[in-house]
């Protein structure tokens, strides 16, 4: 039997998760590119033993705090319950699977997480929301950033056109909207 968790604690953990997921990840573009580009911002396994080792060292061990969920893994199950009428939308690295009546996007977290929390508990809906693809892919700028995905364009960018395509040029990096 799975024990119920206090409602407030569950809300708090969800809120924290949302806050972390919605934070801009421009600074982590390298990490994302290194993991094959187009990452969703979650904690990824490493493709080499040496990099797994170095990432585990205290000064760079920053992934665990980003993974927020209820302390007992069983309690996360309300987030992944089956429902037959799901819509599946997969576009440009953004995987968004919804129950059909609520769209869990970055823009809506602040308004809706309480609602969704309630919704998950009572309607057995399921959402798999793959963060945080929102606006732009860095076309280049750094060795690391080719093909990286960010969810916000830095301020002070100039709009440029290259080969008929619109880009933003900011801090020596090109962003494609």
């Amino acid at each position: 039997m799975i024990a119920k968790i206090p409602f407030n604690a569950y809300c708090a953990s969800l809120a924290l998760a949302v806050a972390v997921a919605a934070a801009p990840i421009v600074a982590d573009a390298g990490r994302l590119a290194g993991h094959g580009g187009g990452g969703g911002g979650g904690a990824r396994a490493h493709s080499s033993v040496h990099q797994a080792r170095s990432a585990s060292r205290p000064n760079v061990q920053r992934q665990r705090p980003n993974v927020q969920r209820p302390s007992n893994p069983k309690h996360s199950s309300p987030l992944i319950n089956s429902k037959p009428d799901k819509n599946i939308n997969i576009s440009n690295n953004n995987v968004n699977i919804n129950g059909g009546h609520n769209n869990w996007n970055n823009d809506h977290h602040d308004d809706h997480y309480d609602h969704h929390d309630d919704h998950h508990h009572h309607h057995n809906d399921w959402d798999i929301d793959y963060h945080p693809i929102a606006t732009a892919a860095i076309v280049t700028g750094t060795v690391l950033a080719i093909g990286s995905i960010v969810n916000s364009i830095p301020p002070d960018c100039s709009q440029v056109y290259r080969n008929g395509t619109e880009y933003y040029y900011c801090n020596n990096q090109y962003y494609q909207p």
């Binding site: 997921a21 094959g36 987030l79």
Partner: protein
């Protein structure tokens, strides 16, 4: 009510020998060699084979777990190919949601966003080992980096607390020796083909320090006599390709050397 002792005995009998060895290893670093001689022998055989290759092409079918914020574990799959001619030539097609190409001719590294036909170039170290070090320093991951660099290959067992030969597995029609290694925060397994050429058949890396223990897995197929053309490692941009600035992660473009 079950008798505790009987339960204990049943558990003991049920557990494979390796599990008990690994668990014991966590508390007793001094018992036995960190890496058993038979495991070391397999690793050394593989290492010797790799060092003897004049050139090779290896395809990599990989899966990489990503643990999302609320605990869901996604699996990303990709096909990649690495063409290598030691000590200073690499051509890598790295699959994934954004396919990338890396071309290294011993002097210059070209990075290319294949789908969008954009590329950037920079001066590079004069050996694969130096290149791999530089990539690691920039958090760039390319499959098989542990084996591309000879010094990394030589130091791969250095952080290992326990290494064991588990047995054999059949992978893609080959019989492969199965090695298991445990480190303080990372577990990894390696399958090495038996026979004349001892090459990695598969690798699994488990990052235990990350909640959810995400894993990277790669199944490898080797061609050890690919016969590359002379210009295989020379990057030639297509007529519609656009060259874009190359900068390090924390440097403005003007401070980064352009070839």
């Amino acid at each position: 009510m079950k008798h505790p002792l009987r339960t204990g005995i049943c558990l003991f009998l049920a557990l494979p020998a390796f599990v008990s060895l690994v668990h014991a290893a966590e508390d007793a670093d001094t018992e036995g060699p960190a890496v058993t001689p038979e495991a070391k022998a397999v690793y050394d055989r593989m290492s010797a084979t790799l060092k003897g290759l004049k050139q090779y092409s290896v395809t990599v079918q990989s899966s990489q777990d990503e643990v999302l914020n609320y605990g869901y574990k996604l699996q990303h799959n990709a096909n990649s190919r690495l063409d290598v001619e030691p000590p200073n030539h690499l051509f890598a097609e790295v699959g994934g949601s954004v396919p990338k190409r890396y071309v290294y001719d011993g002097k210059t590294l070209t990075l290319m966003n294949v789908a969008q036909d954009y590329y950037a170039q920079t001066q590079a170290p004069d050996s694969l080992g130096g290149l791999v070090d530089a990539l690691i320093n920039h958090d760039v991951e390319v499959p098989l980096m542990d084996f591309l660099s000879q010094s990394l290959q030589d130091s791969l067992l250095d952080g290992v607390k326990r290494g064991r030969l588990i047995g054999t597995s059949q992978l893609d029609g080959k019989t492969c020796d199965h090695l298991a290694f445990r480190e303080p925060d990372v577990d990894w397994q390696l399958w090495v083909s038996q026979g004349k050429e001892a090459l990695p058949c598969k690798i699994v890396i488990t990052t235990r320090y990350t909640l959810g223990d995400p894993q990277y897995q790669a199944v490898l197929k080797w061609n050890t006599s690919p016969g590359f053309k002379a210009d295989h490692f020379t990057f030639v941009p297509g007529k519609d390709a656009t060259r874009i600035p190359f900068t390090a992660n924390n440097l403005p473009a003007s401070q980064e050397e352009q070839p």
